[in-house]
């Protein structure tokens, strides 16, 4: 039987709608929007304070600063949002009741993911969007496009880490262990991966890993996010280290967007497999 035949949109909508409304009502979306907006505005106006100037210094330094900070903040928020999506239901005791209804585990998982992704998207768009309106309102259209590209890639980055969090939630038996895994994922992808990659490159003199380097970068969604943003129309790539050597031929937004989508689908697929066992 085709598993997609088992997926009913009514059930997915009901679960997603509840998750989304929960985050709106408990002001999670509002709080995260404010964090993103404040963070974007502060970066814009005070990002160059160390160099003795304040205010909007141009779209490229702004994107560079936002990318660096978003890589730390957004994955963490997405992981915190999603780590108890399934294990929380199990631990609270609501999972058996839900599954006694005419809903499959796949529908529950997809509904949960979509509801949380919707909340995260709203917060990201509202936060960075409102800040963007204030920042680049008088900027040329090209800057608008570049900023919009950054926001879209940030949304994708959030979805990827949310997918990883939901997967951790499906694999863990308790919220405590799921939160531990979520933090470990953040450490690995945001802090450790590039360091290990750089170390391995230096140790091997680039001979072994060099050809594999673009592939190895794509194994980290945080790096894909960086690459998506640095290969814009300006000289942004000069502001980054490791990823700046990514071959420009592969740095196509559509291709990288597809890689990001694969990064969303793969953990969700794993989660579905584990959750169905």
């Amino acid at each position: 039987m085709n598993p997609l035949n088992c997926v009913h949109m009514t059930q997915i909508r009901a679960i997603a709608g509840k998750e989304f409304r929960d985050r709106i009502r408990n002001r999670w979306v509002l709080a995260v929007s404010i964090v993103f907006a404040a963070f974007a505005l502060a970066t814009t106006y005070f990002g160059a304070a160390a160099q003795g100037s304040v205010g909007f210094q141009g779209i490229e330094p702004l994107i560079a600063s936002l990318v660096s900070l978003t890589i730390y903040l957004l994955p963490l928020i997405a992981l915190i949002l999603g780590f108890d999506a399934l294990v929380g239901e199990r631990e609270r005791g609501t999972l058996n009741l839900l599954l006694a209804y005419p809903i499959s585990r796949a529908e529950l998982l997809i509904g949960k993911y979509l509801g949380l992704a919707g909340a995260l998207t709203c917060a990201t768009l509202a936060g960075f969007g409102l800040a963007g309106i204030a920042i680049v309102a008088r900027a040329p259209a090209a800057d608008w496009y570049q900023y919009a590209g950054f926001v879209v890639s940030a949304v994708l980055l959030g979805w990827v880490f949310l997918s990883l969090a939901v997967s951790a939630s499906a694999f863990c038996a308790s919220r405590t262990s799921a939160s531990g895994i979520a933090i470990a994922l953040w450490f690995f992808f945001v802090l450790v991966y590039d360091l290990l990659l750089l170390g391995a490159l230096v140790l091997t003199g680039g001979a072994v890993l060099g050809p594999l380097f673009p592939l190895l970068l794509m194994l980290n969604p945080a790096d894909i996010f960086r690459i998506l943003n640095i290969f814009g129309p300006g000289d942004l790539h000069t502001m980054f280290g490791l990823v700046s050597v990514f071959p420009a031929a592969l740095a196509q937004p559509v291709f990288l967007g597809l890689v990001m989508l694969a990064w969303i689908a793969a953990p969700l697929g794993l989660a579905a497999w584990r959750f169905n066992r």
Binding site: C6, K18, P102
Partner: protein, 302 residues
């Protein structure tokens, strides 16, 4: 309606359900009783298709539990879990609407259901503000969504006050009269002994006994309790007539004489009391309670 054939389920080395055969018929109120850990909840989970059996077969209306066509069965069943947990951040009415959407039931049903369980006044209050009894009533209401012809109720009267318990069983009786099949567990055996059509006593994942309360009483062969009320406090002649086999445990208290009598010696007891009728004001014969029956079976299986 519900059919289990040789069903077994283990969790690691623990054999939670061990070769159970069971049939629950349409319109029947069927009780499952047993000590904690006897396998009642696992059996519920198996019947609801929440977990898969290691061996044997569970089916409802001919559909294998958890099978590809079981979704249609789930639309027509209601489930109240033990210690029901609902979403604290939703109001009572929102809770019912959420579950109604999941079941594909018209959300217009929700308000009348809340009224039926006596929660109309709390419809707009968050579940976190509900007492345990109110949560239980709300849980019962969600089980009734869509007027299901099959109900699984796990310790449904937990936390209910006496009035709530009476109301609950009144609703249940009305549902049963409409043809609803009900499977129920309860630790309060006195509560269900007058209400179930049949019951199964579970022990260590196995059915130790199954049948109507009357059948199980007969099978355990537990003694009857007689209580004789004398006209005066001079109960010695009555007590003396009973202090012989097969009567047992003769006790006196003011005008009352109580004694135990084997089920098959009921007529002998009446015959022993017949010459003393001028001294006797009243006579009561008490059947063993379901609790006695349960403990009798547990004693036999210990």
């Amino acid at each position: 309606m519900i059919e289990l054939k040789g069903v077994a389920k283990s969790f690691g080395s623990l054999r939670a359900v061990d070769g159970i055969d069971l049939n629950v018929h349409r319109g029947e109120l069927f009780g499952l009783i047993g000590r904690n850990g006897a396998g009642k909840s696992t059996l519920f989970q198996l019947m609801l298709g929440l977990i898969a059996a290691d061996a044997g077969q569970v089916s409802i209306n001919g559909e294998r539990a958890g099978g590809p066509r079981f979704r249609a069965v789930k639309r027509r069943l209601g489930y109240l879990p033990e210690n029901v947990v609902l979403y604290d951040n939703l109001t009572g009415i929102e809770t019912l609407r959420f579950f109604a959407r999941l079941k594909g039931v018209d959300t217009a049903e929700c308000a009348p259901l809340l009224e039926q369980v006596g929660l109309t006044h709390a419809a707009a209050r968050k579940v976190r503000e509900y007492s345990k009894g109110m949560k239980q009533r709300l849980g019962f209401a969600q089980a009734l969504l869509g007027d299901p012809p099959l109900l699984f109720l796990d310790e449904p009267t937990n936390g209910l006050d006496p009035e709530g318990i009476r109301e609950f069983y009144r609703t249940l009786r009305a549902r049963q009269e409409d043809g609803t099949t009900i499977v129920i567990t309860s630790h309060i055996l006195a509560e269900i002994q007058q209400r179930v059509d049949r019951l199964a006593i579970l022990h260590s994942g196995r059915i130790r006994a199954m049948g109507s309360v009357q059948t199980l009483r007969a099978q355990t062969d537990l003694p009857l309790w007689f209580e004789v009320v004398a006209h005066s406090s001079d109960t010695d002649p009555i007590a003396s007539a009973l202090r012989r086999a097969p009567f047992d445990k003769v006790t006196t208290n003011d005008r009352r004489v109580a004694f135990q009598c084997p089920r098959n010696a009921k007529m002998a007891a009446i015959a022993a009391l017949a010459p003393l009728t001028d001294r006797i004001a009243d006579l009561q014969i008490q059947e063993p309670s379901l609790e006695d029956v349960f403990l009798g079976w547990m004693g036999a299986s210990a």
